[in-house]
């Protein structure tokens, strides 16, 4: 019974995504009531779309699981996920929109006029996108296996296929509507069961979970070797600065008509994310109460989906479980399709189109190359997700954030606010940041436990990788004033002048 309902819910989410994605364009009008200005995407709609795309399986399943496992210390995670948008709002939202860049490589080229920086940025976008996609596929496998008992690969394959079809079929024609809808699906699917569970908890007279010592403390050491303050600080830094470097976030800001709308959108995003993150802790605490221990081999990521079945008997529990499964799938699908879309765009534009054009003698326009890129964008992380041992969803996402914070944050912040950033400096920042944080991730993943500070530094690399990247970018820029782009001044004026100010087109008399 539970299986059938859950499968139905998952199928419903998948079908809605594809159908609304394909048909959104059909909302047409006749000239008599057509006003273009009224049809630009409003900041609020766009904010829903950004939130919908941003709230991934890591938020829907992972946060509750981590808090359940390791205590309220992990509440820092949702704080950081939201704070990232505050930094984005203050530092880059409006100037970024005014730059006219659609992707991060575009910004690199607009700001520095260098093909090398553009290429590096493109490679990093693909790397971060894939890194972020792997846990989405793993989360899909987890969620579907749990609610239906299907083999692990079925869930990953389902998400991979739906995403590839949706992206390849026409680039998700009305992606803004789809993603905005996904946000409200996710919020409903998470909040309604939470309300029911809370009501039942109140009726049964409350009850406080028995937890191990330190579970309720904000900075609790998990082991003698743990450095809670460093770990938290590094994680917060990664989340604060990493958000602006996520490829699927920036793309959505392009839809804003101007810088002011970009700022308004960001404020709404912070509010929407705040509302969403109220709920995962509810599941974690109630999970501790009703499921004091998980059976061997069951991951804490599953706590959200397991909880209703444990608390509510009969059909009620099945319906709530199905809702959560559907919501988890919505989370997976929206994030995965947004990421796949960005990765596909970069793969196509930077790597595939030039090659195809050469192969076919400059005759390679059309949509074939884009479809090929869409398949590539999905297949690689799918294969990696299948053959790499599963680590916690939030951990992999954490590394993606660290990499973004150590590479794109210096490029964007210095690019927007520092006139003396040179091409060589930007290249140095990107290379130092990416090599350092990749090395840390690889050592943590493949190397054995190091213990002590070494392990702490490698497990949370953002606190030293990001300053390293900033420092190398600044030092190299100061050392190579010759490679500062010539029209930096003019570009800076364009990035920072509000649209309502009309710059006088004055000309220096000859």
């Amino acid at each position: 019974m539970s299986d059938t309902l859950s499968v139905l819910a998952v199928a419903l989410v998948c079908v809605t995504t594809v159908v609304v994605g394909g048909l959104g364009l059909r909302l047409s009008r006749r000239t008599s009531d057509f006003y273009v200005a009224g049809r630009t995407v409003s900041p609020r709609l766009n904010a829903s779309a950004i939130s919908g795309e941003y709230l991934s399986a890591a938020s829907f399943l992972g946060v509750a699981g981590l808090i359940y496992d390791q205590g309220v210390d992990l509440l820092w995670l949702p704080v950081g996920y939201t704070l990232g948008y505050l930094v984005l709002l203050v530092m880059v939202a409006a100037p970024m929109r005014r730059s006219g860049a659609y992707t991060l490589p575009d910004f690199a080229e607009a700001r520095l006029g260098s093909v090398l920086v553009r290429r590096l940025a493109a490679v990093l976008v693909v790397a971060i996108g894939w890194m972020y996609l792997v846990p989405q596929f793993q989360g899909a496998a987890l969620a579907l296996a749990l609610v239906t008992g299907a083999p692990q690969w079925v869930g990953s394959l389902l998400v991979a296929v739906v995403v590839a079809v949706a992206v390849g079929a026409g680039g998700m024609r009305s992606i803004t509507f789809v993603q905005a809808m996904q946000y409200w699906i996710k919020l409903t699917c998470l909040a309604v069961p939470a309300f029911v569970l809370l009501a039942l908890w109140m009726r049964s007279g409350g009850g406080v979970p028995t937890v191990r010592e330190g579970w309720w403390e904000p900075f609790a050491a998990r082991s003698p070797d743990d450095h809670p303050y460093y770990r938290t600080f590094s994680m917060m830094l990664a989340l604060c600065l990493g958000t602006m470097g996520l490829p699927h976030v920036l793309v959505r800001f392009y839809t804003n008509p101007d810088g002011v709308a970009a700022r308004r959108t960001t404020v709404s995003v912070v509010a929407l994310l705040g509302v969403f993150y109220l709920w995962p802790p509810v599941y974690a605490v109630l999970g501790r109460l009703h499921l004091p221990s998980l059976p061997e081999g069951v991951r804490s990521d599953t706590i959200v989906i397991q909880l209703p079945g444990r608390v509510v008997d009969g059909v009620g529990g099945d319906v709530l479980t199905a809702m959560l499964a559907g919501g988890a799938f919505a989370a997976l699908l929206s994030t995965a399709s947004g990421l796949a879309m960005s990765v596909t765009g970069v793969l196509h534009q930077e790597f595939l189109r030039p090659r195809l054009a050469r192969l076919t003698g400059g005759d390679a326009f059309g949509f074939g190359g884009f479809r090929l890129a869409a398949v590539g964008a999905v297949v690689v992380p799918f294969v990696v997700a299948r053959f790499v041992e599963q680590i916690g969803i939030a951990t992999t996402v954490g590394f993606a954030f660290s990499l973004a914070a150590a590479t794109f944050a210096p490029l964007l912040i210095l690019g927007v606010w520092w006139r003396r950033l040179s091409r060589a400096g930007a290249v140095a920042g990107l290379i130092f940041g990416s090599v350092a944080s990749t090395a840390a991730a690889v050592t943590t993943y493949f190397g054995g436990p190091l213990g002590g500070w070494g392990e702490a530094l490698l497990a949370n690399p953002a606190a030293w990788c990001t300053p390293l990247a900033f420092a190398s970018a600044v030092v190299v820029s100061l050392a190579t004033p010759g490679s500062v782009p010539r029209d930096t001044g003019r570009l800076m004026v364009r990035l920072h002048t509000p649209e309502r100010v009309h710059l006088a087109r004055s000309r220096v008399p000859d």
Partner: protein
């Protein structure tokens, strides 16, 4: 199935692959070297240096371009120093002995007036410093359009015949590069002129017909006539505006909308219009007046000569990093050959700027972004184009 992943094995295999790759690469490199004779290698390196210099010369003759190209020119000549001057003064000095930089413009004076190469010996070029290697100069003219626009002076301890010859040849090559740069600028100017021409080219038929239609409402429906006149004023203001060559798709579509309101006043129910616009692409920048001529073409050639109701569909869709805009009509169509002639600019038929829009799109975004026309006689016409959401140098302000 449970994947087994033995880390040490994987590391060893990956390491071996990397070593093998490096080895093959090094071997390939070594062999490629071996096929070249010394003469070949010198030729290639000279050509390479020349190509580096030509990249800078594409900007024309400016202090920046001259000093950037100077070091490559010096490498080709093998002289001690190189000076580039234009008619007003020194543009760049490359190499040692820059205390002579102030005199370089005077050294070139004879060449500037005569247009012939000159050789100056140590009798003219004097220096208090006994170690200074600058004792002789060879000056050759840089010509553009048969006129002397600058000079190239090579300084060396002695003026050999070889240096004189090399300087002359190099100056001729630089002149050719400057001509190419001038050609590029001329093409840009022509494109700008063409854009200005298109701007003024609101078709007279349209003005005449609109005013006629408005006049017919003045008595029967003065309120509507007033609205139409205001639309007409806004339309002309947009079409004749002064400003950058780009605008947003939203602005462009708003102008199309004004245009269609005026056309509907004339055609009434005969003209049916649908717009299918994905809101995501409205902020995309497009060349100014890129869509309106296509719509005008659809209305005039697709519908005006047809009996009964005609439909025009304007679609703007999101395609990832690009946006596609297409204008569809179910009118009389045209033969592909005649459309080909219009796009090639061979036909002077009143095609309302199709060829111009095509040329501007290609110039801004590259050849793969031109107009795509799908048509046949009696089968309607579909004109579409794609624009990348971001292209370097394209911004509306």
């Amino acid at each position: 199935m449970s994947p087994t992943f033995h880390v040490p094995t994987a590391v060893v295999v990956a390491g071996a692959m990397v070593l093998l790759g490096l080895g093959l690469w090094a071997a390939g490199r070594g062999r490629r070297r071996g096929f070249l004779s010394t003469v070949d290698r010198v030729t290639y390196s000279t050509l390479h240096t020349a190509s580096l210099a030509s990249r800078h010369l594409a900007d024309g003759l400016t202090p920046e371009s001259a000093s950037a190209a100077g070091k490559h020119l010096l490498a080709i000549l093998g002289a001690t120093s190189v000076a580039v001057c234009d008619s007003a003064g020194l543009l760049s000095w490359t190499g040692p002995g820059d205390h002579h930089a102030g005199e370089a413009h005077d050294h070139a004076a004879a060449t500037r007036t005569s247009g012939a190469p000159t050789v100056l010996g140590s009798d003219v070029i004097t220096c208090a410093d006994p170690d200074c290697p600058i004792r002789a100069a060879v000056t050759a003219p840089l010509l553009a359009d048969e006129k002397v626009v600058g000079t190239l002076t090579a300084y060396a301890p002695t003026a050999s015949a070889g240096l004189a010859r090399a300087t002359g040849e190099l100056a001729r090559w630089v002149s050719a590069e400057l001509d190419v740069a001038e050609l590029g600028r001329a093409r840009t100017r022509a494109m700008e002129a063409e854009l200005r021409a298109l701007r003024a080219q609101i078709s007279p038929h349209f003005i005449y017909n609109s005013l006629g239609a408005i006049a017919s409402f003045v008595r029967t429906d003065p309120e509507r006539a007033r609205e139409l006149l205001l639309e007409f004023a806004d339309f002309t203001r947009y079409a004749l505006r002064q400003g950058g060559p780009f605008t947003t798709l939203a602005e462009e579509l708003r102008n199309v909308e004004r245009y269609l309101v005026l056309e509907q006043a004339r055609f009434g129910e005969r003209l049916q219009v649908s717009l299918l616009v994905a809101p995501e692409v409205l902020p995309v920048r497009v060349p100014y007046l890129a869509v309106q001529p296509l719509v005008e073409n659809a209305v005039r050639h697709g519908l005006a000569s047809k009996e009964g109701v005609g439909h025009v569909t304007i679609t703007a869709s999101d395609q990832g990093s690009e946006a596609e805009i297409s204008v569809d009509d179910d009118g009389v169509g045209a033969s592909p050959e005649s459309v080909q002639r219009i796009l090639d600019g061979q036909s002077r038929a009143d095609s309302v700027g199709l060829g111009n829009v095509d040329a501007r799109l290609r110039q801004v975004y590259g050849d793969e972004f031109g107009l795509v026309v799908e048509t046949a006689v009696g089968a309607g016409t579909k004109v579409s184009f794609r624009v990348p959401k971001y292209a370097p140098g394209v911004h509306s302000d």
